[in-house]
Symmetry: C2
Subunit: 217 residues, 2 copies
């Protein structure tokens, strides 16, 4: 697939690198520092390129939205027309200090995003694990017990695309339902962040959802 | 320990039964139907009793609060003075239809509860898994890879009590920090409920938090 990365922070850089390594055509975009994008593309290898958000979006099969919430409108404007595009978003609706969600539990950042780009096909994914665990999971992607990654969205085709990318990184995709479930996955992300960054066991944290056989007593 | 169960729904009934089986002194309370409480106590065995909320609270080392949010004030009033008591709460702040949280992400049900009973020592725990998985986890409690259960609270001693109870049920307790983290664990509960009840793989769902070694690339 052709994948445009919007945002060159930890999530965008690492996921873009992984997507390139498994054979996708990746364009890194959206940094104040053009050299940073060039370095990212070079370090990712496998034909990854740097470009403008418009170049990243052009003919992309999927766009990864990985910018701070305060930059969403700006990056979308620079990306141009995203009608019909699959947008996989890991942008959380955080305030400027990154201390709290700015969208209440009666809505979610992903739903707000979907309203901004009503012709795009938004899937919420990848935010529920810290970036520190991505390469670890990727390196263990052939193992039998993969960690889970929840995703949600309202477009079945876009969700298939997202699930493939999730599997590419080494996670087992878990369909959590429609996009409004981002109201729960976004606070779950903050729980994961609390455990990863405020705990004593380090930031490389993943989770596994385990369905068991029910016992009655 | 002496454990008072406030609420005789699925969580209260199952956790009370498990607590009795591992040797705690359990009092079941708070049902419209006294015979239901009696049956619960009898079926749990191991000396479990039924009683009023005041009897459940009296000389209890820990109280499990497992009532619908709309009943919290009522059950607390009936329980009497809870100064100094450890309250382990799995009551979520849901509306009457159980369709949404009624406390926004700028607070949480557990924090609201702690304000109601400022002299009690509230820990938020047990709500993040569906009741259907409890006996399954309990029956596998000797296994090496236990599922996780997050808990949070502001009182270190009360958290120790909660962690012991969590371990008794067969989970690995994971300290998620202060009580305000319930703002994240409560929506996480709704995510778990969505996956358990709206998915195709059944309701006996648990989760395992896995700390890995970080890889840089």
């Amino acid at each position: 697939m052709r994948i445009g990365i919007l945002g060159s922070g930890l999530m965008g850089a690492k996921l873009g690198t992984i997507f390139a390594r498994v054979g996708h055509h990746v364009v890194f975009s959206y940094s104040h520092d053009q050299r940073k994008l060039d370095r990212l593309a070079q370090s990712a290898g496998h034909g990854a390129r740097s470009g403008t958000p418009a170049e990243a979006a052009e003919s992309a099969d999927a766009l990864l939205l990985a910018v701070h919430w305060s930059r969403v409108s700006d990056v979308l404007e620079k990306a141009g027309d995203v009608s019909g595009k699959v947008i996989v978003s890991c942008s959380l609706p955080m305030n400027a200090d990154d201390t709290t969600l700015v969208v209440a539990h009666t809505s979610s950042g992903s739903e707000t995003l979907a309203k901004k780009v009503p012709k795009a096909r938004v899937v919420s994914a990848f935010s529920t694990v810290p970036s520190e665990v991505l390469f670890t999971v990727f390196s263990g992607r052939r193992s039998r017990k993969r960690p889970s990654l929840v995703y949600c969205g309202d477009d079945a085709g876009a969700k298939k695309t997202a699930a493939r990318l999730i599997r590419d990184v080494g996670f087992e995709p878990v369909d959590a339902g429609p996009l409004r479930i981002a109201r729960y996955t976004e606070p779950f992300t903050l729980l994961m962040a609390q455990l990863a960054y405020e705990g004593t066991r380090g930031p490389a944290l993943a989770y596994r959802l385990e369905w068991r056989r029910e016992r009655k007593a």
